[in-house]
C-alpha cells in the first residue's frame, strides 16, 4: 500500500487501465471529479481519491478489486456519501468504488416478502417499488431519499422507526459481495437463522472493511394498518426526557420516539415558518402504529404520560398531510441548521435511555464551556443522541473546539454505559476513542475477526481499527484538518 500520493502520470495510467476494464465513462479522474469525492457527509476531514470508478455490475466490481490486488492499490467502497464518520474517505493513492450506477432492483418475491437489489439502490426506492403490495423496507435513516442499500448495510443504519422495527441487520437476509481475494460470494439465505456461524451479522455494519457488498436480499415489512402521530411541546428539556423515560418504562414501544430541542425549533421556524408555543424548549414526536386497537391503547398511555409531564401543546395528526407536517422538524431539522451557521457536525452517541435527562444537562454544560453552539435532535426512544454542533469552519479555533466538544460528549456517553455510535459508524472520526470503549483485549478480538474476511491492507484500510500498516500516515492525512 503506497503511503504517498502517486504522481499524475501514474494516476492517468491507472485511469486508462481501469477504463479498459470497465468501459468508457465509468472512470473519473479529473481534478474536479476527484474533489467532488474527497469526503462524505463528515466534512471535517478530506482526502482525494486517485481514481473514482463507477461499476455497473458485481462482475465489474470483482474486476476492479482484482486489478487493485494485482497492483497493490487500496480501494474504498462508497454509496451516496451520506456517511457521517468518514468511512468512505479514500486511502492515500486509493481507488474509490462508487455504487452510484448499481441502482437496479433485480428481483421481487412478494409471497416470501423479500426483494433483491443492487448495492447502489436508494433506500426509499426499495419501499416505493413494493408500495403497491402494501409492503416497505423498514430501516429509514433520515438520509433515505439519497442513501443507498449498500451504505445502509455498511453502517448497519437505523432511523426513527427502527425503535420498533429494528436496524438494517434485522432486515437483510443475504448478501452478494466481492471478497478481498476478488471472488464473488453469497452470504446468508432467504430463510433466516439456522445452523452455522452468523457471518451475516458480522459483515453488516463492518463499514466496507471486509469486502465490497454488491447486492442484497432484504426483508419486506407489511405497512401498518393504523398510524397515529403526536407532536408534543414541553416547557423544559427535562420534562420531555422524563416523558421518554416513562413511556419506555411503561412497556410501550412506539414506532418512533424522537426529540428536538430549542436550537432545532428555532432553525425549523426560520426555515419553514413553523410556529411552536411561546416558551417551549423541547418537542417530542411520537408515532404509534400497527393493529388499530393496540394503537388506540398505546396512544392513551402516551397522551397520559405527556400530560403528567405538563405538555404545553399536543397535536395529533388527523391525516397524512398533517403527519408529514408534524415530521418536518424531525426530518428536515439538521438541514434547517444550515441557516444558523456555516458548518454543522452531527454527533452520534448512545446512552441507556434512563440517563437522557442527565446526558442533556452534560451536553449543555460542554457546549457552554467550549464556546460552541449545540442543538439536539435525536432518537430518544433508543437513547441515540445526535448533538448537532454548529460553528464556522473558517476559524481553526472553532473547528478545534467542536472536535474537542464532540469527543467529550462521547466520553460522557461511555461513562454512562453507552456507545460511541448508534448508527453513523466509527469510520475515521471515532477511531481514537475505540480503545476507551472496548479496551485493548476487545480491539484485539475485533482485529482477529476482521482477519477472517480481510487479512490484507487494501480493502478500506485504517477504518474502525487503526492498527494496520500505514495507518499513522493515513490518520495524518485524514485528520489533518481535525487535529
Amino acid at each position: 500500500m503506497p503511503l504517498t500520493d502517486p504522481d499524475s502520470r501514474t494516476e492517468a495510467r491507472w485511469a486508462r487501465e481501469l477504463e479498459s476494464i470497465l468501459g468508457p465513462g465509468q472512470v473519473l479522474a479529473t481534478a474536479s471529479a476527484r474533489k467532488a469525492y474527497d469526503c462524505d457527509a463528515y466534512t471535517i476531514d478530506k482526502s482525494k481519491p486517485s481514481v473514482v470508478v463507477l461499476p455497473e455490475t458485481t462482475e465489474q466490481v470483482r474486476d476492479v478489486v482484482r486489478w487493485c490486488n494485482r497492483n497493490q492499490i487500496p480501494y474504498t467502497p462508497r454509496g451516496a456519501g451520506t456517511g457521517l464518520s468518514g468511512g468512505a474517505l479514500a486511502a492515500i493513492g486509493g481507488v474509490l468504488i462508487s455504487t452510484k450506477r448499481m441502482t437496479k432492483i433485480l428481483e421481487t418475491d412478494l409471497p416470501n416478502r423479500c426483494l433483491r437489489a443492487q448495492a447502489g439502490a436508494v433506500n426509499k426506492r426499495i419501499s416505493e417499488a413494493v408500495a403497491h403490495a402494501g409492503l416497505h423496507f423498514a430501516p429509514d435513516p433520515s438520509s433515505q431519499t439519497v442513501s443507498t442499500l449498500g451504505g445502509n448495510i455498511a453502517e448497519n443504519s437505523g432511523g426513527p422507526h427502527t425503535l420498533k422495527y429494528g436496524v438494517t441487520v434485522q432486515h437483510v437476509l443475504a448478501l452478494t459481495m466481492v471478497d478481498v481475494d476478488g471472488e464473488i460470494v453469497q452470504v446468508g439465505s432467504k430463510v433466516p437463522g439456522g445452523p452455522g456461524l452468523d457471518l451475516l451479522g458480522v459483515l453488516i455494519g463492518s463499514e466496507g472493511t471486509m469486502g465490497v457488498v454488491t447486492e442484497a436480499w432484504v426483508r419486506l415489512t407489511p405497512n401498518p394498518a393504523k398510524v397515529e402521530t403526536v407532536l408534543a411541546s414541553f416547557a423544559t428539556v427535562r420534562d420531555a426526557t422524563q416523558t421518554v423515560a416513562d413511556i419506555i418504562a411503561a412497556g410501550t414501544i412506539p414506532a418512533a420516539l424522537e426529540m428536538m430541542d430549542e436550537g432545532i425549533m428555532k432553525a425549523v421556524s426560520l426555515a419553514f415558518g413553523l410556529v411552536y408555543p411561546e416558551g417551549a424548549k423541547a418537542l417530542l414526536l411520537i408515532e404509534c402504529d400497527g393493529d388499530p386497537r393496540a394503537v388506540a391503547g398505546e396512544m392513551r398511555t402516551v397522551l397520559d404520560i405527556c400530560a403528567n409531564h405538563g405538555a404545553m401543546d399536543v397535536a395529533v395528526a388527523a391525516d397524512e398531510a398533517e403527519r408529514q407536517k408534524l415530521w418536518t422538524a424531525r426530518k428536515k431539522g439538521i438541514g434547517a441548521m444550515g441557516r444558523i451557521a456555516p458548518t454543522i457536525v452531527t454527533q452520534d452517541g448512545v446512552i441507556p435511555r434512563s440517563k437522557l435527562p442527565e446526558m442533556l444537562d452534560r451536553i449543555t454544560e460542554v457546549a457552554a464551556r467550549r464556546g460552541i453552539g449545540i442543538a439536539n435532535i435525536f432518537h430518544a426512544g433508543d437513547g441515540n443522541l445526535h448533538p448537532c454542533m454548529y460553528f464556522d469552519d473558517r476559524d481553526p479555533a472553532q473547528v478545534e473546539a467542536a472536535v474537542a466538544a464532540g469527543e467529550e460528549i462521547l466520553e460522557v456517553c461511555l461513562d454512562l454505559g453507552g456507545s460511541l455510535s448508534g448508527e453513523h459508524g466509527i469510520g475515521v472520526e471515532k477511531i481514537g476513542l475505540m480503545e476507551r470503549m472496548f479496551g485493548r483485549e476487545g480491539l484485539d478480538l475485533m482485529m482477529d475477526v476482521r482477519r477472517i474476511f480481510n487479512d490484507g491492507d487494501l480493502c478500506n484500510p485504517c477504518k474502525i481499527l487503526p492498527n494496520q500498516k500505514g495507518c499513522v500516515e493515513h490518520m495524518r492525512r485524514w485528520r489533518g484538518a481535525a487535529w
Binding site: 434485522q170 471472488e183 439456522g194 456461524l197 458480522v202 479496551g439 478480538l445 482477529d448
Partner: protein, 293 residues
Amino acid sequence: MVNTLLEPQTLEELADAVRDAGRMEVLGSGSHVAFDVRGPEGCAGLDDWSVALGHPTVLMMHRLSGIVEHHPEDMVVVVRAGTRLTDLQNSLAERGQCIPWASPLGDIGTVGGLLALGPPNGLEARCGGWRDWCLGMTIVRPDGRVARSGSQAVKSVAGYDVHKLMIGARGTLGVIAEVILRTLPLGARPEPTWSVAGSLSASELRIQRTLATDFAALLSAARDVAHVADEATCTLWSADSELPRFEHDWVMRAGCGPRNLEPFDAVHTGWMRSAKKLLDPEGKLNPGALEAI
C-alpha cells in the same frame, strides 16, 4: 470418562481455568448436548453428557450464574452465562420483565448455552430472537484473555459485532462468560400463536424452517408426526422423522452424529475454518464441533 471437571464461579476463575486447561468441552447445564454434530448415532441423553463426550476436561458453566446488573428502566439485564433461563426469567418477573422466549421444550438450558446453540424463538416474528436481544458479551478467549463486545446501549454500531459471531458458534470460538440482554415488560409479551399436535421430547427434536411458499407442503407432510408449527416464521418443531427438504430451508436435529450436519459451500466452510484458526488457534474449545460443520 471425565478426568477433570472445571466449575468456575467467577470470571477470574473462568479465565484462569480456560488459560490453564488443554482441550475441553464447554457445557452450560448440559441440556442441549443432544444437538451435537459429533459422536456416535443415538448417543443423546439429556443427563448423559459425560457419556456423550469423549474429552478428558469438561468446563461446566452452571456455577458462573446470577444477574450482574438489571436496569428495569432501560430494559437491559447483564447476566452470567451459566444462569439457567428459568432462574433468569423468575428474577426478571419479580421486576415485571422477561426475555420473550418461547420454545416447545420450555425454558430449558442456560443463557450461555442457548446463545451458543442459537435455536429459533417461538415468538420470533413479534419479539425477535437471541441475535436481536444480545447487546454485548464478555468473552474469555482460549488463552485466558477477557474481551468485551457491545455495550448496554440498545442500539450500537461501534466496531464489529463480535458477539453475533459467538451466537450459534457452539462454544468453539470463545467462552461466553457474561451477556447483556434486552428485556421486555411481561405485559408486552405475546402468547405463542403456534399450533400444537402431540408432545415433543428434547432427545428426538427436529427443527426446520422454510420459505413461506413451502411451509404448507412441509406441514402437510408432517401431519402424522408430533409437531409444533409457527406459521409466522415458517418454523416446524417436530419429532425426528424424514420430512421433505426445500430450497433455502435449514434443519437442526437433536441427537449426536454427522446426520445432524448441514452442508455448507466451500467459501463458508473456508470462513468458518479461518474463524476457528484465528480465534482458537490451538483448537482447545469443543474440539471437533466446528470442524465437523
